[in-house]
């Protein structure tokens, strides 16, 4: 199939940006969305035009490096799918696709489709861990963890920190990312000693970068790991209890 891509180009953080329109021929059903960008980039290089900068790494939906707005949706139209796992069988010959970076004040643009998501690292620094210096751990089976709790923690721990939640949110809120990490650690017995400190630290750091949550639920709909907004309710409850 032949596709038209309208791609956001921006030379640097402070440079003005604009859409440029490109044609890509010979797109097959099997290709992933990023492979279409690869093909386009090789085409651009041969033509002597600078290729489009975009982040990607594992290309199997787990590293969280990739992520663009595709026709206004974070990671595109397919639910539970990162951009790298979006395959072109969803599109038809002649389609026009608009590609933009994740847009949020908390994610400044670096170049073209690349944004700076280091705010997420700052939130983890503010308490997204269990303090256990290497060597100090007891035997792993010393503390039984009910399977339902462990599974629930894993549901939250799956977050890949891609930032789709922020990009999809009309407020640019970072709640789903923060809530997922809080839930992962706060649900486990190992996470209890630092629960309050962690919750206060991470929530207040989050507020330095991101907007407020007003329950639009766009975050969960865009999340490639389909993380539930129930965890945001848990964040709110934990925060109120911690700040009591």
């Amino acid at each position: 199939m032949k596709l038209t891509l309208k791609v956001w180009r921006q030379a640097g953080p402070d440079a003005p940006g604009d859409f440029e329109t490109y044609q890509v021929d010979d797109v097959t059903d099997e290709m992933s969305f990023l492979e279409v960008l690869d093909v386009l980039n090789e085409q651009l290089v041969v033509e002597g035009r600078e290729p489009i900068a975009f982040d990607s790494d594992c290309r199997e939906g787990i590293c969280g490096s990739c992520g663009v707005m595709i026709d206004g949706q974070a990671h595109g139209p397919q639910r539970g799918t990162a951009t790298c796992q979006l395959h072109m069988r969803l599109y038809q010959d002649g389609d026009t696709i608009v590609v933009e970076p994740f847009r949020s004040a908390g994610f400044p643009i670096v170049k073209d489709l690349v944004v700076d998501r280091s705010a997420f690292d700052r939130i983890i620094e503010a308490g997204g861990f269990i303090t256990v210096p290497t060597g100090s751990a007891p035997d792993a089976n010393l503390i039984p963890v009910p399977k339902v709790d462990s599974d629930r923690a894993m549901d939250a721990a799956q977050c890949i920190a891609c930032g789709a939640c922020v990009a999809a949110c009309p407020n640019g809120a970072g709640q789903l990312f923060t809530a997922a990490k809080l839930a992962h650690l706060n649900l486990l017995p190992q996470g209890q000693p630092e629960r309050q400190r962690r919750t206060i630290g991470m929530v207040e750091e989050m507020e330095n970068y991101f907007g407020s949550c007003t329950n639009h639920r766009e975050c969960s709909a865009a999340c490639p790991k389909e993380i539930s907004i129930d965890f945001i309710a848990m964040l709110n409850r934990d925060y109120r209890k911690a700040r009591r």
Binding site: E30, E42, Q85, I130, P133, G135, M154, A157
Partner: protein, 639 residues
């Protein structure tokens, strides 16, 4: 400089060696640790765990990663699990058995003492990760669950759904970020290491890095440098590695004097999704754990293109179960991969390109129910469906081998130090523990063993005598020379009037390597490849086309440097494969096989680690002889 290989393996009984070594290493007083500056390059399992632990101990640690966040490192993509000799299943496992399985699985080309130590610390890793909150799978009683994996007859693999690597990496990353917050680790993201700097005594004294956002090239000094930069499967272009995974750090260290060991020992993973079209950028792995419940088969008849459901049971060939009845679908990776290749070579491959074999869950679904299979492999099945558009609950998966892991890497001694004093290599970047083939669920174990438990102890032995030694200033000639070379190299890529992108050259290189140095190798193919690679590399030097500038983010420019290094490494791999006139593990020389097509090892002549010294011209081979006192080398049999 003459290169010597001293393994530093402690004398005495193997089961006491690590304990005694820990007692014998020199220590740095807690209050003096902050006087030592250590650079860690790479933030995967090995790098993040090492950096966090070194900082907890009190060292002054600087970390460099080319990623935007330490959490992106490719360890995150490991699916299946991590081995440990806990024997929670009461099925006869022990430290000795894990050691034995790993040495045997590695086809008797690893160092016994290192592997024994790995098995010993395996249990501590599970304790550490669990305490960090890694949500390993559990039984209803609340205790940890296990599954079995290829190459073992016990259930010793701990797992977190199909995302074990992700969860272990996040544990290490979170430990690292705790140290960043405490001011103990200085974290440098989107910064690529481009050279190692040594002083007049040949000691590593720092690195040269390039800021990928501004293009700034700068020197960083330290008392010791740790490379945790992963493997080099991307030399094949199409592999299961992430797009960014590269060999630049270890290759440039090699050019500064670090011997490169067993470069031809690469692993081809049997359960990947077959290539679907020519523009494909990478191959996706399906966890080996799928082989626990999936049966691998091809049609009995060559050229049979009926859909799988129309092929009756008696016209199917369950070739692994047939050839290896004891291990069946759970034979080690190298054995499974070669068997699949043999089927495809016989024109019994399946799928539109006839480039796969079936991995069929029908029987398990019938026996256990779809819910059980979904609970075990749900995310893998979903991933498969996303990529292929086929539902593996109804249609058998199609799989084919793909480059996945490299057992070779920088040569290190028992202390994990390379042949450059003060330069360490940990995790996949070193060659140490997997011999000629790695068993499933052992990479995570090794990365974390090195990072959490081994390096933090052994590095003190090197640093202790350096107390009071000033850092080499970054305006020293050694740094200035290295910086100038890096700048010249970056500029050279920007100034070529080329025809194709670095990616294009990379893809061409990958084709040559996969054909000649992939699953099966022979002398004439390797010799031919050596010429082809050299020719293509010459063409690359003037023909690579890099647009944009060197003062802002330029991914084409980054790629050019990495592909340049892959060209050189590829030649060393072919040379190593050519010289090793035997078949062992992942290295299969067609000239050396048993009448029924199994690998034929030559212990009399090749029971050594091949450590190559860079000279600028012909590389020089150094041998570390391997002795086996505890596991007697036999022909591996999984029948």
């Amino acid at each position: 400089m003459t290169l010597t290989l001293e393994s530093m393996v402690p004398p005495g009984a193997i089961d006491r060696a690590w304990n005694e070594h820990r007692f014998n290493v020199r220590l740095v007083n807690p209050s003096n640790k902050r006087r030592f500056k250590i650079i860690v390059v790479g933030t995967g399992l090995a790098g993040a765990s090492a950096a966090a632990t070194l900082a907890e101990l009190g060292y002054d640690v600087s970390v460099y990663t080319f990623h935007d966040s330490p959490r992106r490192a490719h360890s995150i993509a490991a699916q299946g699990g991590i081995n440990a000799a806990k024997d929670y299943r009461n099925d006869g496992d022990s430290v000795f058995r894990l050691f034995y399985d790993t040495v045997k699985g590695g086809d008797f080309r690893s160092r016994e003492a290192n592997v024994y130590r790995l098995a010993q610390v395996s249990n501590e890793i599970i304790d550490q990760a669990t305490a960090q909150g890694v949500p390993f799978a559990r039984e209803y009683g609340g205790l940890l669950d296990n599954r079995s994996f290829g190459g073992a007859q016990v259930s010793r693999t701990f797992y977190a759904r199909g995302q074990t690597g992700q969860q272990l990496l996040l544990g290490a990353y979170q430990a690292l970020m705790r140290q960043v917050a405490a001011g103990k680790v200085q974290l440098n993201t989107r910064t690529e290491m481009l050279d190692v700097v040594t002083d007049g005594d040949g000691k590593a004294v720092g690195v040269v890095v390039r800021d990928l956002l501004t293009g700034e090239v700068r020197s960083v000094n330290a008392h010791a440098v740790v490379l945790a930069t992963g493997g080099y499967s991307n030399v094949f272009y199409l592999s299961t590695n992430a797009k960014g995974s590269n060999a630049t750090a270890i290759w440039r260290a090699h050019k500064r004097g670090a011997a490169f060991a067993n470069p031809c020992f690469t692993q081809i993973h049997p359960t990947c999704i077959p290539q679907s079209d020519d523009t494909q950028s990478k191959l996706t792995l399906m966890s080996e754990s799928l082989r626990n419940d999936g049966r691998i088969w091809v049609p009995l008849k060559a050229g049979d293109d009926r859909p799988p459901e129309n092929i009756p049971e008696d016209e199917r060939d369950y070739f692994l179960e047939r050839r290896y009845p004891a291990f069946g679908n759970l034979v080690p990776r190298d054995v499974a991969s070669r068997a699949a290749k043999a089927m495809i070579d016989e024109n019994r491959g399946v799928g539109p390109r006839r480039n796969g074999v079936y991995l069929d869950f029908a029987e398990s679904i019938k026996r256990l129910g779809q819910d059980v299979i979904r609970a075990r492999y749900g995310n893998l099945f979903q991933m498969y469906e996303r990529i292929t558009g086929e539902d593996p609950y109804r249609v058998p998966m199609r799989i084919y081998p793909a480059p996945h892991y490299t057992m070779g890497g920088l040569w290190v001694d028992y202390n994990l130090m390379t042949t450059i004093d003060g330069l360490y290599a940990i995790g996949e970047a070193n060659f140490s523990d997997h011999g000629a083939n790695r068993l499933g669920a052992s990479a995570l174990m090794q990365g974390l063993a090195d990072g959490y438990f081994i390096l933090p102890v052994t590095i003190g032995d090197y640093l202790a005598p350096l107390l009071g030694k000033a850092l080499t200033p970054t305006d020293d000639d050694a740094f200035l020379e290295a910086e100038a070379a890096v700048r010249a190299r970056v500029t050279s890529y920007l100034n070529t009037e080329g025809d194709h992108s670095a990616d294009w050259y990379h893809r061409e290189l990958g084709k040559i390597m996969w054909e000649a140095c992939g699953m099966a190798r022979n002398a004439s193919g390797l010799e031919h490849a050596l010429q082809e690679i050299a020719k293509l590399h010459e063409r690359f030097k003037t023909g690579v086309k890099v647009l944009g500038n060197g003062e802002s983010l330029n991914q084409g420019l980054e790629k050019a440097g990495r592909v340049d290094d892959f060209f050189e490494l590829a030649q060393l791999m072919c040379r190593d494969a050519l010289h090793r006139e035997e078949s062992c593990g992942g290295h299969f020389r067609e000239e050396h096989q048993t009448p029924d097509g199994e690998a034929l090892r030559d212990d009399d002549n090749f029971s050594y680690v091949a450590a190559w010294e860079y000279t600028g011209a012909e590389p020089v081979l150094h041998k570390e002889e391997l002795t086996f006192q505890h596991v007697r080398p036999t022909q591996r049999s999984y029948a």
